[in-house]
Amino acid sequence: MIAQIAMATGFALILIGLYGALTNHNLLRMIVAFTIADTGVNIVIVAVGYMAGRTAPILDAAVPAAEAAQRIIDPVPQALVLTAIVIGLGITALMLAYAYKLYQKKRTLDIGKLTELKW
């Protein structure tokens, strides 16, 4: 049940994010919208790895290695999410830097005004 809710939330966030990114003309709002979508993706990934009734994939006294396969959830999606978060951070930082530079040069944050290159 939790997994389904998480999954639905994730997809909802992705759609909200994409909608926001494709309808807002302000660069900063677009970037924010993309981070929302990214969060949605991360939630979906985690939800896919979730297994009801199991514990975190940390091998210590509570979960000995021998029983781990039966007791922990799938650790791979969690590892993926970590990587995805880092990469998302990188891209977001780069986009923000771009937005800053663009504002410096053009004095505008409107995506619709950055169209000298076309056709």
Binding site: I14, T83, I91, Y98, G112, T115, E116, K118
Partner: protein, 1056 residues
């Protein structure tokens, strides 16, 4: 061997090392960057060598010491090694090319460059799907950084648009990955492919959807048309050296990623790849047509090429083992050429295409430019050519004709805009600003050009080993032609001697190998070529570019005669087309004409390619090994394919002979060419088309399509071509254009003779081959000589040159007597055989048409003598001298030849007549002594010569006798009483000489055909110009395009 993981490690280590340096130590940082890239290149090259030469097996690298799926593994095999080589080499050369930008921005920019290279190599090497995602993101981030190396402020916006799209892509990819992982339990690509086989039907649909998302994400990295506006903006605005990486390395990496992913999806996804690929190829090429910015044009071309390779990957099911050969051939050709072109573009200051004229005066750069264009278009001897051939062969064999047609159409458009650009470069005004010859750039360009040729050799070698095709770069004629590239520093006369010696020497060595028919063409191509080359002694200086082009054309024609299988024939055909294009382009005003020549010729060549491919597909089993297809096997092509093969080949060959409807390139191309080039392309090159038709008719004979006799259609085409060609010729004011139109008419005669499909018809066609070579070469030379002296080609501006240029006069006189077919010269022999042939055939109506065109020929031929040599001498021409010696000499040789051929036609024709008995046992001529007879009469050349000579002498003496007291009237014996007219030519009697005929028959020579082709090109251009407005420049719109594209493909795939 150094482990391939050091390709990644070296880049990473160097990037970290750069971080330790001080910001001022830019030289050191640059050295470290170059060293790291060189090291990566070396490792890749080492592996490539090991796989290609020593046949090593591919190696897996387990990064965490455990096997997948518990750790990421990398794999290096031949494909990976080649791709990492191309990526790191491109990066190394680009680092050289953008030295200034890198030094200006410092170590951070260099570190980003290293990371970008690492990312592209990683995409190639990794076998883990999530790792693939990570490398793609790295590539996106570093691309976002490197775009800023550009001086162009617009690059900022382009970079942001790119980041928007890559966000969308990464969302698609991540969701796809996680669900694919959920369904298969592994992130390893090979493991996923295995697991995908055994997925339960219940979760199959979910897995397919996950795969679809991953597939679309990776396909989006290929910049598919039309969801690629962002990429075009990058291509246009980024630093060209980075665009080189983006196109060559990025394209290669993304393609390989898609290729790996297709392993997971299986064959069910191949049609999707094909569809997206071919739409991209055709669409991007179409939209490239109206581009005026060089870098954006290259961007469109990059997109198109990647699309083509994606198509090839999608044809994996039928290409089988050949997939690698074809796809890698196209990919490497694309990478080398596109990187080279981008590096070249950074030498040129202006961004419009004609600004590339600045390259003129730098032969090495022009050579590199031509090399890159030929690489891209897939002309021999480059890898793309072999790839194109195999692709066409396999597609035709599998019945995928529509796909083949689309590919060839796209390729033709690409060739059009690329060679149009080359024409601008060679012919447009040179901009004031010379090119910026930075050493790093020049090194990069030269390495790329050399690599292109090496690849040509390697692919030829592979084709030779795997498929039993000859390596074109080992063909002696081609090597001889290419050797002239190295001899460009010699003076023209030395090169001319070498060229003549080469032609004659090669003839002497090999002439014994051929049957009489081929021998006649061989003589015309080589010995005939040598005679025309005598006229080239007239040229001074070094004449850079002439000899490689001319010898390329002769090499192509030689190989055409030598060819025994369809591959060799087609390769020769393309070689002679390219050579003659470069040759024609040399004329002063020939830019548009050379282009239209090339487009028609390549269009024709593609039809021939399709025809050959189709023929091979229809060969009955056991008759031929599928790989090679001998020309003689065309005879065994079965119904219902045979008439289609015939149709394609016939139209292909008829583009070269300029049959009506396909003739519009000829007048300009022949008339605007240089003085000694016009006879080459008219007297000799046109015969290549006739040779093709001979080969075609000899093997395939009569064919019926839907009950229509195709040779009968050809007969009509020949007749109408003869009529209209001659009609158009009579209305010309320009002497060389007149001769060019006359060639159209003459080729119509030859086509007619061939299409008669009887013994004498063919003999007559062959007679035309010989005659037309002699008199058209002679006339073009004499008219060219006159034009050289008078400085004009308009006939009404000449007159009375008989006394000043007597030798040219004699040549023209003899030439037109021969051409018009009156006794006693060889033209009469041609007519005689012709009438005999007609009497034998049952076709009456086309016969009437062809009879009509005979007298029309008199009308224009007469003008050559009448307007140029007779009448009043123009005042400004009073001090003219005879044409230069070297231009007159070949004409005199032709005069002797014509007379000799008129007296003893048997030397050439007798053996051919016997040879033709195998095709048409009846209807041959009877050769007894010097007397030739047919069922309808006889022809005694010597008697005719004597009789006509006697009549001529009698009349001539009579004329001298009655005129002995006549007074010479000079021009100013009469009085001019009028003012000087506003347009002097309108009062000249020779201007619009046949105005009454024009009134009566002008409707026949309305430029309908020109209008027709013009309308097609206009429609394509306008359509493309409207369609490209789809790329609004708005980053959000581009993201919507991408999502729309994904949805469209989904619906399409569902529908199928």
């Amino acid at each position: 061997m150094v482990s391939a993981i050091f390709i990644l490690a070296a880049a990473l280590a160097a990037a970290f090392l750069l971080g330790l340096l001080k910001d001022e130590q830019r030289g050191v940082a640059y050295a470290i960057t170059l060293l790291a890239l060189a090291f990566m290149t070396w490792i890749s090259a080492d592996w490539t060598w090991a796989f290609a030469m020593d046949g090593a097996a591919s190696v897996d690298i387990f990064t965490a010491g455990t096997e997948p799926p518990f750790a990421i593994n990398l794999r290096v095999g031949l494909a990976e090694a080649v791709l990492t080589l191309i990526i790191s080499l491109t990066a190394l050369l680009s680092a050289l090319a953008m030295k200034d930008a890198l030094l200006a921005l410092g170590r951070r920019a260099m570190a980003v460059l290293l990371v970008a290279t690492l990312a592209f190599c990683g995409i190639v090497l990794t076998r883990d799907i999530f790792n693939l995602f990570v490398f793609f993101e790295l590539a996106a981030i570093s691309t976002g950084g490197l775009i800023l190396l550009s001086d162009d402020e617009r690059a900022l916006a382009a970079g942001f648009k790119y980041l928007i799209v890559s966000q969308v892509i990464s969302i698609l990819l991540l969701i796809g990955i996680i669900f694919a992982y959920h369904a298969t339990g592994t992130l390893n690509i090979d493991g996923m492919a295995d697991a995908a086989q055994s997925i339960l039907p219940g979760s199959r649909q979910a897995f397919m959807l996950a795969f679809f998302l991953m597939f679309m994400a990776l396909v989006a990295e290929l910049k598919p048309f039309p969801a690629n506006g962002w990429a075009l903006d990058i291509y246009e605005s980024a630093h060209p050296a980075y665009s080189a990486i983006f196109s060559a390395a990025g394209g290669a990496a993304a393609l390989y990623a898609v290729d790996k992913l297709l392993l997971v999806g299986g064959t069910a996804w191949l049609p999707a790849a094909t569809g997206i690929g071919v739409v991209t190829f055709v669409g991007a090429n179409l939209l490239a047509l109206p581009q005026t910015n060089d870098r954006r044009l290259l961007g469109y071309s990059s997109v198109a090429q990647i699309g083509l390779i994606l198509t090839v990957l999608g044809q994996r099911d039928v290409l089988g083992d050949l997939t690698g050969f074809v796809a890698l051939g196209l990919l490497l050709a694309h990478s080398v050429a596109k990187a080279g072109l981008y590096w070249l573009s950074s030498l040129v200051a202006g961004r419009e295409l004609s600004a590339w004229a600045a390259l003129r005066g730098h032969p090495l750069m022009i050579f590199a430019f031509a090399t890159f264009l030929c690489l891209l278009v897939g002309l021999p001897p480059f890898p793309g050519f072999y790839a194109k051939w195999e692709l066409a062969r396999v597609l035709a064999a599998e019945g995928r004709i529509a796909l083949l047609a689309l590919i060839l159409f796209g390729a033709l458009i690409e060739a059009t805009y690329l060679f149009r650009w080359f024409g601008y470069t060679i012919k447009r005004d040179k901009p004031a600003e010379d090119i910026a010859c930075a050493s790093g750039n020049v090194i990069a360009i030269c390495v790329a050009a050399v690599t292109g040729w090496v690849l040509g050799y390697l692919w030829g070698d592979a084709a030779n080993v795997m498929l039993g095709r000859g390596n074109l770069l080992l063909a002696l004629p081609l090597l001889f032609a290419l050797a002239f590239l190295l001899l460009e520093w010699l003076p023209a006369w030395t090169k001319n001697m070498l060229a003549i010696a080469g032609l004659v020497g090669y003839f002497a060595l090999t002439w014994g190998d051929y049957d009489p028919l081929r021998l006649i063409f061989f003589v015309i191509f080589l010995i005939g070529g040598a005679v025309i080359l005598l006229a080239s002694f007239h040229a001074h200086g070094r004449r850079v570019g002439f000899y490689p082009a001319a010898m390329l054309m002769y090499a192509g024609m030689t190989m055409l005669i030598e060819a025994t299988d369809t591959f060799g024939f087609f390769a020769a055909w393309e070689i002679l087309t390219v050579g003659s294009y470069f040759l024609i382009l040399r004329g002063k005003h020939s830019e548009p004409h050379a282009l239209s020549y090339l487009v028609f010729s390549l269009g024709g060549a593609f039809l021939i390619l399709a025809g050959f491919a189709l023929a091979a597909s229809g060969a009955p089993l056991g008759v031929s090994p599928r790989l090679t297809f001998a020309l003689s096997e065309l005879a065994q092509v079965a119904q219902p394919l045979a008439p289609w093969v015939f149709l394609l080949l016939a139209i292909g060959f008829m583009t070269k002979t300029a049959a009506i409807g396909l003739h519009i390139w000829l007048p300009g191309a022949h008339a605007e060419a240089e003085t000694d080039v016009s006879p080459m392309v008219s007297g000799i090159l046109l015969k290549a088309g006739l040779f093709g038709l001979f080969i075609l008719l000899m093997s395939m004979g009569k064919q019926q399509l839907y009950g229509i006799e195709l040779t009968y259609v050809m007969l009509w085409i020949g007749a109408i071509t003869a009529l209209l060609g001659n009609l158009m010729a009579i209305f010309q004011e320009d002497a060389k254009r007149l001769l060019a139109y006359s060639s159209i008419g003459q080729m119509g005669y030859a086509l007619f003779g061939l299409a008669l499909m009887n013994h004498l018809g063919w003999l007559m066609a062959l007679m035309f081959v010989i005659n037309h070579y002699i008199y058209k070469s002679m006339l073009f030379l004499s008219v060219g000589g006159v034009a050289k002296r008078t400085g004009t080609r308009a006939m009404y501006q000449m007159g009375g040159l008989i006394a000043l240029m007597p030798l040219s006069f004699i040549a023209v006189l003899i030439g037109i007597i021969a051409m018009s077919g009156v006794p006693p010269l060889s033209g009469f022999g041609g007519r005689w055989i012709f009438y005999n042939a007609i009497l034998e055939s049952e076709y009456r109506l086309p016969m009437v048409v062809i009879f009509l065109s005979g007298p029309i020929a008199f009308l224009y031929l007469f003008r050559l003598i009448h307007t140029i040599f007779l009448g009043q001498l123009k005042d400004e021409h009073r001090k003219l001298k005879e044409a230069p010696f070297w231009i007159v000499l070949p004409q005199m040789i032709y005069v002797v030849l014509l007379l000799a051929f008129a007296v003893v036609p048997g030397i050439a024709l007798r053996r051919v007549d016997e040879y033709m008995n195998q095709f048409f046992p009846t209807g041959g001529l009877n050769w007894s002594g010097l007397n030739i007879s047919s069922p309808y009469g006889y022809w005694d050349p010597i008697a005719i010569m004597i009789i006509v000579g006697c009549i001529f002498m009698t009349l001539f003496l009579w004329l001298l006798f009655v005129n002995r007291k006549a007074q010479k009237v000079k021009q100013f014996n009469i009085v001019f009483a009028a003012e000087r007219p506003y347009r002097p030519e309108t009062t000249h009697f020779a201007w619009n000489f046949f105005a009454p005929y024009r009134k009566a028959l002008g409707f026949l020579v309305q430029p309908f055909v020109t209008q027709f082709w013009g309308a097609i090109t206009d429609t394509l251009h306008t359509g493309a110009d409207i369609a490209r407005r789809f790329y609004t420049g708005n980053g959000q719109t581009y993201a919507i395009h991408l999502l729309g594209f994904v949805v469209a493909v989904y619906l399409f795939a569902r529908g199928i």
